[in-house]
Structures are given as C-alpha cells and as structure tokens.
Amino acid sequence: EAGVAQSPRYKIIEKRQSVAFWCNPISGHATLYWYQQILGQGPKLLIQFQNNGVVDDSQLPKDRFSAERLKGVDSTLKIQPAKLEDSAVYLCASSLDKTIPYFGPGTRLTVT
C-alpha cells in the first residue's frame, strides 16, 4: 500500500514570497491533516479535513495560510506571504476515518 505522498520535499523562498505544498493521502483515507513542525518541537496541527470539509482550522494563521481539499482526495497548503517564522517542516497525514494518522515525509521550508 502506497503511503502519504508530499511534494516538494524541500523549498527555499524569501520572506514575503508565496509557496504551496501538495499532499496525496493514502487511498481511501477520509481524514487529512496538515501539521507544522518547527525544529526541536512536536508537530502542531494546522488544519484537519474530513473528506472535502474542514473539521478544525483553529490553529491555522488564516491571514497568510490557506488549505483546500476540493475533491476530497489530495490537498494543497499555501502560505502567502511567508515570514521567517514559517520556516519548518510541513507534514501531511491521513487516516481512514479519524483513527491513526499516517504521515508523509514532509516538506522542509526555509524562509530567508
């Protein structure tokens, strides 16, 4: 069974630029998560989707971050404009139906 796919794996941008990350969850998984992991810390939930609807986005900085999962399968997370403090690994995870989240390899973002 294929795991969670994410791209790109690495991205370097300047502050105030925009960036987008893509995630393809495990086939059949209804729940999709985006987490932010700052170096030396545990993952922090940004947004949780159930199919194509948002379940929780309480910790998503909505002035600059947006996410969508239009067809209930793959998802994109966008940052516009980026700030230095957005430098982190962005992890996508999926679960069958709010059960065990399985994580992708992450996208390492560096904002200079």
Binding site: G42, Q48, Q50, K98, I100, P101, F103, G106
Partner: protein, 113 residues
C-alpha cells in the same frame, strides 16, 4: 492550556538494554494515545496505540503503559537496537475532538554501542 509533554528530552541507552520513554498528559478527557517514532528527515512513524480503557498494550519489542490516575504514559522498548535511535513522540486525542491529535515535545533516544 492543557498539553502533552515528555519528562526527558534526551535518553541515552546502551545497545541491548531496555528503554523507557515517559510522557505526561494533563487532560483527563484524553481517551486515546499514540506513540510515534521520527527519524531524521522523515515523517513520524506509528509505533503503537492505546485506548483509555486499557492500561497496557504490547507490540513487537514495545510495550505501552497507561496510568490514568497520574496521567502518565510510557513506552518501553526491549533490547534496544541502533535502529531505534530517533525522536519519540506521544500524541493524545480528546474524547470530544475525535481525530484531533496533540503532540508532546518529543524525546531523543540515542543508542550507544
């Protein structure tokens, strides 16, 4: 706010010994817990989970213990191997927020020969 945390940021273990990684949680409403292993440059990998109606669960070389009285969770790794070197996270889920997992800060396990 309520949070999940780990007691020891770094744990050094000799190869072949048993490892014990601890996690404290403060939310008594949490009813489901997962341990993850994260190697450098990779995403967290599921190890084992436990529900609040259990106090012990065993997997291959791993055992998770849950003490709800003191809100404490531990992961025991038997016969630690070099491949066990990683950061270990516990994650909790509250009963009224099904599917929303909150992670602790993590413990770095270093296996020495």
């Amino acid at each position: 706010g309520e949070s999940v945390g780990l007691h020891l940021p770094t744990l050094s273990v000799q190869e072949g010994d048993n490892s014990i990684i601890n996690c404290a949680y403060s939310n008594s409403a949490s009813d489901y817990f997962i341990w993850y292993k994260q190697e450098s440059g990779k995403g967290p990998q599921f190890i084992i989970d436990i529900r609040s109606n259990m106090d012990k669960r065993q997997g291959q070389r791993v055992t998770v213990l849950l003490n709800k009285t003191v809100k404490h969770l531990s992961l025991q790794i038997a016969a630690t191997q070099p491949g066990d070197s990683a950061v270990y996270f516990c994650a909790e889920n509250k009963a009224d927020s099904w599917g929303k997992f909150q992670f602790g800060a993590g413990t770095q396990v270093v296996v020495t020969p």
